[in-house]
């Protein structure tokens, strides 16, 4: 954890398993069941179960973060339904942005409204962070999980630091 503005920290996440599942309702339901969920999460929501976390990024798409290293159970659950399951673990890098000004920092790079009422805890979406495509997942009132494609990692980290620096200066000026 590195403090990039007063009370706001940015950290890179360690490597983790990421899977993209594309399929119709039957495939999404089978995947949700194998992760220990009652149903696939609704659009733009993330839900965690015993087997891992499912993030609903599109009407026919889930990003799956399995709780363990393997995903044989998920493969078995999907065996009889048409689907596409692709491992993208190395494609993305993850960051955690935490602190009182975390939403303000993201708002400096993205046109979304990060107020708790319109971007509640558990909401996840793909969007743009400055010029790079990114996934933003609110894991707490003041905590965000950010994922970008690996080659955009240094760029996005630099932009987050730059906005945080601007916010720090504006705090000093008050």
């Amino acid at each position: 954890m590195i403090e990039i503005a007063e009370g706001c920290a940015l950290a890179g996440l360690p490597p983790m398993v990421r899977l993209v599942l594309q399929g119709r309702a039957a495939a999404l339901e089978a995947a949700a069941a194998s992760l220990g969920l009652e149903a696939p999460p609704p659009m733009l929501r993330a839900v965690s179960g015993a087997g891992g976390t499912a993030l609903r990024l599109g009407p026919f798409e889930l990003l799956v973060l399995p709780a363990s290293e393997g995903w044989a159970g998920l493969d078995a659950a999907l065996a009889t339904v048409p689907h596409s399951l692709v491992e993208v673990s190395d494609r993305n890098v993850g960051f955690v942005l935490e602190g009182a000004r975390a939403a303000d920092i993201l708002a400096g790079l993205c046109p979304l409204d990060f107020a708790l009422s319109s971007f509640p805890v558990g909401m996840v979406t793909r969007t743009l962070l400055d010029k790079a495509g990114a996934m933003i997942w609110r894991t707490g009132a003041q905590a965000f999980h950010i994922e970008v494609w690996r080659s955009f990692g240094p760029y996005v980290e630099g932009q987050l630091r730059e906005v945080a620096r601007g916010i720090s200066f504006s705090l000093l000026a008050v």
Binding site: M43, L44, L57, G58, P59, E61, P111, L112, T125, R126, T127, L128, G133
Partner: protein, 93 residues
């Protein structure tokens, strides 16, 4: 900037979207005449008024959808899913 209401994700800023040209253009079978193929590839209505067009939520859910936009005012009248018929909004300005 246009505010575009993705049928799956809700209202988002225009920079998240990619434009897909005029909607409801059916691809003809492979054995059509040269003239019909030319019309499919190149000939568009260049509408002045309400135009049905495709958009893709490229930096979001990734889905294509259709929109009715008035080309005179840039005002959107409807957003609807691919495969559904064009809603009737008349010639609203």
């Amino acid at each position: 900037m246009l505010l575009i209401d993705c049928p799956y994700c809700g209202p988002r800023a225009e920079i998240e979207f990619a434009y897909g040209g005029e909607a409801h253009i059916a691809r003809p079978a492979a054995d059509v005449s040269e003239e019909e193929w030319e019309a499919f590839l190149y000939l568009r209505d260049n509408t002045k008024g309400v135009l049905a067009e495709r958009w893709r939520h490229a930096h979001g859910c990734g889905r294509f959808f259709n929109a009715l936009r008035d080309t005179r005012t840039d005002r959107f009248h409807a957003f609807y899913e691919i495969g559904t018929p064009r809603p009737d909004v008349g010639d609203a300005a």
